[in-house]
């Protein structure tokens, strides 16, 4: 065969190359203007060679720059260059000089330079879309990457012919082929080539798959970008396409299951107030575990960012990738990079989405008859052997009342009210509009995005509320404008401005959300009649039922938060190639502000109760129903407006110098030095948080095979005493790309094989909310003291005694990674890590009370030690099976388990079944009572066992607790670790997508395992309210009949069984869920062209669609914090995306 084409081009006959060359010549002229933009990639070359082959020269250039050449070996093999001696020259200069007088020409397309031998005779001019006479079939189509994004500048050539074209900015192409047997070859830098037989097709759409382990892939790293092959740390990232498959309103939520090593737990779903807890590699400290989040290099909020403006999200997991963050890097880093414009024709994209959102789960209800019966059952359990004639002790509901509930003949008094149905909408709309524009000229590029999100809330508002709006909603307007500009012709000086912001309104009733749920789910039973008295006053119940959730929603007024956020960064970059080759510098100043204005319009209302007296019938012979006003202080009041606001500001200044140079084509050096200064003013905290530091990176790579990198952060924070504020956090890492060794270089099977390792230390200064722990905190409290005659009646609050030795936490982290690529289709990445967190700041527990000060008031001490170990496995498979069908799957499986090694915990004596509650266990390990199986069936059995349940009287139907320490006493000494903690140990995600012709389908399965957490009693125990499972509670009758028993005996006041912390109530929160699914269809190009559009895609997707879990009760979502959390959403969404 003829030769090897760089870029893995297939060989083609010699004659066709001439045609290709002719066409390229012409294209070269057309595209000449592009060269200018290509200068942004210019790197300075120094070459001094004599009499070398052209190919050798091109290899030399390749080694020194990030350019790659596309050429036919055979075509060029006999051309030699006599003499080339340049220093600090640009690629163009080198090529122009060396090609002078030779039959060679070149063309620069992005980072690829096509070099060809000039033809003897000029060929007819060909431009995109025109058809040469000799060829008669026109094929058009679209080329995309697996994410569905159009690929620009893909080379499309007819196999065996010299003719060819490239795709346009929107990925479309049009080419003439000689006949049906022609084969089209699609090639693009960093992607695998694809050949397609034309056949009878007129339109060819295809997906190019990135070449595994390509030398060209660039990944985002701390304060910069790096070629993926050179990365020695543990980094994962996802692109915008995947993020956009989720219709969730919160960007953080969309990350769940997508990134190996990232755990995202959605704790509640309230619009605008939802909480997502993010953990990188689980948790490793007793203090703050939140990773730091940087948006375009600056610490910022992530949740509010419009997914449409995100280019990618990258997580930095190991010490080497986070070392630059020094004293703050220990919990890992999340980098969000927003999109930027590219030169070319403006591209306009418009998206509209309409979705319906509802709760994933709602508690099951029982009807009022069952409810009253269960109340009686619980009462009977609490009051065995009561004389039925006792005037005082009677069951809560008489037979008469039960009949009324059953027949529902008199609902005014004996009601059956489904409060959930009355208060919550099943589904409400969520709408999203987005417009983005990008493009630019040679000198200026822009990306502009504007969006609007309109998320409804679940509260059902009474139509009678007319003068104000208490409904729950979130309306968010956001914009971003990222502008890049070159300030000189050479492109060595450039500037950028990123400005973004959002303005949002969050509205809700003026009531505590938890309280509304507590009332609805636990303390407002079905037996209470409707929300209002006949006179339209708010009806409440007696005792615990003394607040109406209906009135909380409809009669309490509203509160609205208006949040304004502006983030802006301005930067300047200068290439200092004229000083020394490869040197550049940048500085960036960022200024962010956020203002929250909260408006509270509250009102009060009268509360009435209903009194039913079966003994005094009304004129219809029914029980008399009366209404009495209670809580006489509460009046119907008009809205009473109050407001407050808080302000947050942030200033960051960064200066960095970069160095990147390759010597002798093999020795690649990079260096970076970054200095920054930062001030953050947080609301409700009078003094600013300041940070300053420098970060340093140096790396050396040999021949793309061996890499070694050194990263260090040297920074400090004001949390520590002067002289102990700054710390150095160094890491070292290295990698070996075995697949670039000679013995594997030619392998078809193994396309990538790489081993990397890192070790180093990073810190954490997130020491809880208290500040200046190195100082005593003693304050004068004015007034309110014991005696007004001492001092001025004030007291001295010894809030805490400072610890001048306080320091940051130190995490020592080791990571070993292994990357394998097979057939360019399958990549496997395995990372194994181990972390030891020392110096964790804890409150000493081993200080006796004799000291006379609570240990919580002693300055905490850097004593805690936690170890965290685990692994991540990522398996990606992508394949274009044929021109119509391609598949992509990305699986990740992660494990992180921590262990508290030291927490200065008191060791309990030997009669405790477990002498520690923390030490030796995972952080947040739940302890509780183990059940020894079944329920007590009789008092005899209880007596025979003879256990003393401290604090409780045990009755038949109670759980049997295991007397672990065999002392016949059930108390805290018998508590054992049960289950795990609230943060899962195993997490996994599986994303699959299939593209078939114009259709695409994708879905994401996500799961957590080894996670447990109690739900809190409200709405789960029979003490507060009854659910379906309480119909199967233990009673002697049910037990005797052998019915299934799902619950211990019911009790009105709570029994020993209905405690949160036993094996029954500590729920296993493991689950697998269909997190996202999406189906899309791209309208045929012909149709789309008619409206002047490039592409129209319609799609439908969903969020939290199906959940499989192991919870004992299916009343609550496994991810929520507790039963009172605003439930997590499920969304069904449709959308259309049009690009011009």
């Amino acid at each position: 065969m003829i030769s090897k084409l760089k870029g893995k081009h297939a060989a083609r006959p010699w004659y066709s190359c001439i045609v290709l060359a002719m066409k390229l010549t012409v294209i070269l002229l057309v595209a000449a203007v592009l060269q200018v933009s290509a200068k942004s990639y210019s790197q300075q070359l120094t070459i001094n060679e004599k009499d070398i082959t052209v190919t050798h020269l091109l290899q030399l250039i390749e080694k020194q720059t990030s350019y790659h050449f596309l050429y036919d070996n055979l075509q060029l093999k006999d051309i030699r260059i006599k003499n080339i001696a340049v220093s600090n020259a640009s690629v163009e200069q080198v090529l122009n000089m060396s090609f002078k007088g030779l039959p060679l020409s070149y063309k620069i397309v992005r980072k690829t330079i096509v070099v060809k031998r000039n033809a003897e005779i000029a060929a007819p001019v060909l431009t995109v879309g025109t058809e040469p006479l000799s060829q008669n079939i026109i094929i058009s189509g679209l080329v995309m990457n697996p994410e569905g994004e159009p690929l620009e500048n893909v080379s499309v050539v007819v196999k065996g012919n010299a003719g060819g074209t490239t795709t346009g900015a929107n990925g479309t192409f049009s080419i003439a082929v000689p006949n049906e047997k022609a084969v089209l070859v699609f090639s693009y830098v960093g992607y695998d080539d694809q050949e397609i037989v034309v056949g009878d097709q007129k339109t060819i759409n295809l997906v190019l798959n990135p070449a595994a382990g390509s030398l060209e892939d660039v990944v985002v790293v701390a304060y910069g970008k790096q070629k993926k092959i050179t990365v020695t740390g543990a980094i994962s990232s996802i692109q915008t396409k995947e993020i956009k498959q989720s219709p969730a309103a919160n960007l953080a939520v969309t990350l769940a299951g997508r990134l190996p090593g990232l755990t995202a737990l959605q704790r509640s779903g309230e619009p605008g107030r939802d909480q997502t807890a993010l953990f990188l590699r689980g948790t490793g400290t007793l203090n703050g575990t939140a990773p730091i989040i940087l948006v375009d290099g600056v610490e910022r909020e992530m949740t509010y960012i419009d997914p449409n403006e995100v280019e990618n999200v990258t997580i930095l997991k190991d010490a080497s990738s986070t070392a630059l963050f020094g004293v703050r890097g220990a919990n890992g880093v999340i980098l969000v990079t927003t999109k930027r414009g590219v030169s070319g024709k403006p591209s306009i994209g418009f998206t509209y989405e309409y979705g319906l959102q509802g709760f994933t789960r709602s508690p099951t209800m029982v009807n009022s008859y069952d409810w009253a019966r269960l109340k009686n059952e619980a009462w009977a359990n609490d009051n065995p052997n009561v004389d039925p004639n006792d005037p005082v002790n009677q069951p809560p509901y008489s037979e008469y009342a039960l009949d009324r509930f059953m027949f529902q003949e008199y609902p005014e008094a004996y009601a059956n009210t489904n409060w959930q149905e009355m208060l919550f909408n099943d589904y409400v709309a969520q709408k999203r509009y987005n417009l983005n524009l990008s493009g630019g000229s040679e000198y200026v590029q822009y990306f502009v995005n504007v969006g609007f999100l309109d998320q409804g809330g679940q509260w059902k508002i009474d139509p009678g509320v007319k003068d104000y709006d208490p409904s729950g909603f979130l309306k968010r307007y956001n914009f971003r404008s990222n502008i890049d500009a070159k300030l000189n012709k050479a492109g060595t000086l450039s500037t950028f401005l990123n400005a973004a912001g959002y303005f949002e309104k969050v509205n809700s009733p003026n009531a505590n959300t938890d309280e509304i749920f507590r009332r609805t789910y636990a303390f407002f039973p079905v037996v209470l009649p409707g929300p209002l008295t006949p006179n339209g006053e708010v009806l409440i119940g007696a005792g615990n039922y003394n607040e109406s959730p209906w009135a909380m929603i409809n009669r309490s007024g509203y509160r609205q938060e208006t949040r304004n956020n502006i983030t802006a960064s301005w930067g300047l970059k200068q290439d200092f190639g004229f000083l020394t080759e490869g040197l550049s510098a940048k500085f960036m100043a960022s200024f962010d502000t956020r203002t929250i204005y909260s408006l509270t319009a509250g009102k009060n209302y009268q509360r009435w109760i209903q009194i039913i007296d079966p003994n005094t019938p009304n004129h219809e012979g029914m029980d008399s129903v009366q209404y009495t006003r209670v809580l006489l202080d509460a009046e119907n009041t008009p809205l009473n407006i109050g407001s407050g606001s808080n302000f947050q500001s942030f200033f960051n200044f960064q200066f960095s110098a970069d160095y990147h140079r390759v010597f002798k084509q093999k020795h690649a050096f990079t260096g970076m030095l970054l200095a920054q200064d930062e001030t953050r003013v947080l609301p409700n905290d009078r003094l600013p948080y300041n940070l300053r530091g420098i970060a340093f990176r140096a790396s050396y790579g040999y021949d793309n095979r061996y890499f070694v990198e050194f990263n260090a952060g040297y920074n400090g924070s004001e949390q520590f005493i002067k002289g102990k504020r700054y710390g150095l956090f160094p890491t070292i890492s290295g990698g070996w790309v075995i697949s670039n060794e000679k013995f594997l270089n030619e392998s078809d099977l193994i396309s990538l094989l790489k081993i990397r390792a890192s070790y180093g230390k990073v810190g954490s200064d997130r020491l809880g909310s208290r500040r200046f722990l190195y100082m005593d905190d003693i304050q004068r409290v004015a007034g309110g003291g014991f005696s007004s005659s001492l001092g001025r009646g004030g007291t001295i609050a010894e809030n805490y005694i400072g610890n001048p030795n306080i320091q940051w936490e130190v995490a020592k982290k080791a990571n070993i990674g292994f990357e394998l690529g097979l057939f360019n289709e399958l990549t496997l990445t395995v990372d194994v890590f181990k972390e030891r967190r020392n110096n964790i700041l804890i409150n000493r527990q081993n200080i006796p009370m004799v000291y006379g000060i609570q240990t919580s008031r002693l300055g905490p001490v850097n004593m805690g030690i936690v170890e965290n170990k685990g692994y991540e496995i990522e398996l990606n498979y992508r394949k274009a099976i044929n021109k119509d069908l391609s598949v992509l799957s990305k699986l990740n499986f992660n494990f992180a388990r921590n262990k508290v090694l030291f927490s200065d915990e008191l060791q309990y004596p030997g009669d405790y079944a477990y002498q520690y509650r923390q030490t030796g266990y995972r952080l947040g390990q739940v302890f509780g009572y183990k059940l020894s199986g079944g329920y007590y069936s009789s008092y005899d059995e209880i007596a025979a066992e003879g256990l003393n349940y401290v604090g409780f009287t045990v009755k038949p139907g109670d759980f049997k607790y295991a007397d672990i320490n065999n002392d016949k006493i059930i108390d805290e000494r018998d508590q054992v670790p049960i289950g795990y903690s609230a943060i899962p140990e195993y997490t996994f995600g599986g994303a699959f997508s299939i593209t078939y012709k114009n259709f695409d389908v994708s879905f994401l399965l996500q799961g957590n395992v080894n996670v447990s957490q109690p739900l809190s009693g409200y709405g789960t125990t029979g003490i507060s309210d009854f659910r379906q499972r309480h119909l199967h509670a233990w009673t002697a009758e049910r037990a005797a009949k052998g019915e299934k028993i799902l619950y211990p005996r019911l009790s009105l006041g709570g029994s020993v069984s209905e405690q949160d912390f036993n094996e029954f109530f500590i729920e296993d929160r493991s689950f697998i869920r269909l997190k996202n699914a999406e189906i899309g269809y791209r309208l045929p190009t012909k149709l789309v062209r008619k409206i002047g559009s490039n592409e129209v895609r319609i799609y439908a997707n969903g969020f939290n669609l199906i959940t499989w879990d192991k919870m004992r009760t299916k009343d609550f979502d496994p991810e929520v914090n507790n039963s009172l959390s605003y439930p997590v959403y499920q969304v069904f969404n449709t959308g259309v995306n049009i690009t011009f």
Binding site: F786, G791, V850
Partner: protein, 585 residues
């Protein structure tokens, strides 16, 4: 262009380097050091004010607003057995452990409700630490008026004595710590000291305060209400010395401790009566009000009252939490036990019940000579009985214009029932709550922590043990009895007989005032008194005609000898290798 850029970068570099001041040098404002506190007269006084905050509220601020009386044989707490989660129920159930003290519910569950009692061990040590800090630093504070400083020092010393006494009453001897611990103190080297050593330290502190001429004997202005005085020092010293002479704390039977207690109590009585202290003439009404603070007060008996921590807190809670069911309220709270009822003399001075023939105390040994009638047991008793106990058919007063009698008979509106609003033994508490008060918010009563009456009884007990039933012993006891117009004790009692009479006197005079629980311990009679309490079940057989039957109201597991001294909290003992846990734990 290049120059422009260089200039910009240079400027940037200058801006950063020109910030000579490290931006991390934030001076947190509003923070003080202890040294600064004691540089200022006002702040030093505020520090003393802070020390008072470590005092518990006593009275009715035990778990769910109950009283300490229910933890001894003077009352039954009606939460038992209905609510086994409440502190008294858990006490009866024998749940006291080193890791779990039912009396200290907030301490056990970590609650920090400042209004309820608890954290006894921790709060007293906190008080001791703060008084030590105050006394160690006050020297350098310059007061414009040196007399003020002298008074504050005396006050701090009495506070230190107070915290020590409250601590050792429960937990026994503790290390005597008279200066603040240094940060590097090795607690593992600290050992316990004897109860006597602690009492000697208490005496030392009190003696020094009593000797301070600038320390007032009585508070006479409202803003100073609640502050310690010389009279408080006398009370603390008297109680501490009495305790340290008692069998539990004086196992060697060192007679000199009794003599010391008697001498100091005598001295205290002289000092206090010399300063105008005297018994309040009306026993019943005495507990309905609060002391009036004036140089010439109506109430000359009260030495120390717990300052109200919310408006009308004590009387309010007495109304709601120790309620008569027909008058509403949250629960019946503590009901006087039959044993207490039996302890009241007949009005003629005779003892009605001499003992019981059975373990369950259902069969009393009646002193027929006394005139006691088991069918009409409430007739002709010591007036203090009527001031303390509501019994069946007792005339309450007028409610809504109608005369009302207590209906604690079976099936009556106030009858025995197993709901927590009702008595379990047929009685309700009367002391501290004026029957004329029908609104919880109107009472002004405060809980009396120290009063002159106690010191008479302290003296009588100590002197009898030290010198036998001398005339002064008679005088002291009869002073107490005379106030309620009870006849004096019969002449010619032996020392043992006198001991019994003094103990009875103490029991009825100081009922529900948090003495009995400690007295049965220091006398080491817990195993005789605390196995159970009884009550009286009345059945109505006709108008104003009832038949009574003695019943067991509640059996307890909290009577064994290990309950004499409360175990030291487990978490503390783990950290104190040299300490021995109290006996039996």
């Amino acid at each position: 262009m290049k120059h422009l850029i260089l200039n910009i970068l240079l400027l940037a570099a200058l801006i950063t380097s020109s910030c000579k001041k490290d931006p991390l040098d934030i001076m947190p404002d509003g923070r003080l050091t202890l040294d600064q506190v004691f540089e200022d007269e006002m702040m030093a006084s505020e520090y003393l004010n802070t020390i008072y905050g470590n005092m518990n509220h006593y009275g009715t601020a035990y778990d769910y607003w109950t009283m300490l009386a229910g933890y001894s044989d003077e009352a039954h707490d009606n939460d038992f057995p209905q609510d086994m989660g409440r502190a008294p129920s858990r006490w009866y159930n024998g749940e006291l452990r080193p890791n779990w003290n039912p009396m200290d519910i907030p301490g056990s569950v970590g609650s920090t409700d400042p209004a309820s009692n608890g954290h006894y061990y921790r709060k007293n040590w906190q008080g001791i630490r703060q008084t030590n800090i105050f006394l160690a630093n006050i020297d350098k504070t310059v007061y414009a008026n040196p007399a003020t400083k002298a008074r504050l020092i005396a006050e701090a010393k009495v506070l230190r004595a107070f915290f020590y006494l409250e601590l050792i009453k429960m937990y026994g001897g503790m290390p005597v710590v008279d200066k603040p611990f240094t940060e590097d103190f090795k607690f593992e080297s600290l050992s316990r000291q004897s109860f006597t050593a602690c009492v000697d330290f208490i005496k030392l502190n009190c003696d020094e305060a009593i000797g301070e001429s600038n320390f007032p004997v009585r508070i006479v202005t409202e803003p100073e209400r609640g502050r310690f005085t010389k009279a408080v020092a006398h009370s603390i010293r008297s109680q501490a010395l009495l305790f340290s002479a008692s069998p539990l704390w004086n196992p060697e039977g060192d007679e000199s401790r009794w003599a010391l207690a008697a001498e100091d109590a005598k001295q205290s009585l002289e000092a206090l009566t010399g300063a105008g202290y005297q018994l309040y003439p009306e026993y019943e009404a005495y507990f309905y009000g609060r002391s009036d603070l004036s140089p010439n007060p109506g109430d000359r008996e009260t030495i120390y009252e717990i300052k109200p921590y919310r408006a009308h807190e004590f009387s309010h809670l007495m109304f709601r939490m120790h309620a008569i069911p027909t008058l509403g309220g949250d629960k019946a709270g503590v009901s006087p036990s039959q044993e207490l009822v039996d302890a009241y003399d007949m009005a003629n001075g005779e003892v009605p019940i001499l003992g019981y023939t059975d373990e369950d105390r259902l069969h009393p040994i009646i002193n027929t000579a006394s005139g006691y009638d088991e069918a009409n047991p409430y007739l002709n008793r010591d007036p203090r009985f009527y001031a303390t106990v509501w019994y069946n058919n007792a005339f309450y007063g007028e409610i809504n214009g109608q005369p009302y009698r207590i209906q604690s008979y079976m099936g009556g509106a106030d009858g025995i029932s197993n709901i927590s609003q009702r008595t379990k033994n047929g009685y309700y508490l009367r002391k501290f709550r004026n029957p004329a008060q029908l609104d919880p918010n109107t009472g002004t009563a405060l809980f009396k922590k120290y009063r002159l009456g106690e010191i008479y009884l302290n003296y009588a007990e100590a002197a009898n043990e030290a010198y036998g039933p001398i005339a002064e012993v008679y005088n002291a006891v009869n002073t107490i009895r005379n106030r309620v117009h009870m006849p004096g004790l019969p002449e010619g009692l032996t020392k043992e007989q006198m001991r019994e009479r003094i103990r009875r006197e103490r029991r009825v005079e100081l009922a529900f005032e948090e003495y009995r629980i400690w007295d049965v311990r220091r006398w080491e009679i817990l195993s005789q008194t605390d196995k159970l309490t009884t009550g009286m079940e009345w059945t109505k057989v006709g108008e104003d005609d009832f038949v009574g039957k003695r019943i067991v109201a509640g059996r307890r597991k909290s009577w064994t000898d290990n309950h004499l001294i409360i175990p030291i909290p487990l978490t503390e003992l783990i950290l104190m290798p040299l300490w021995e846990q109290n006996p039996g734990w």
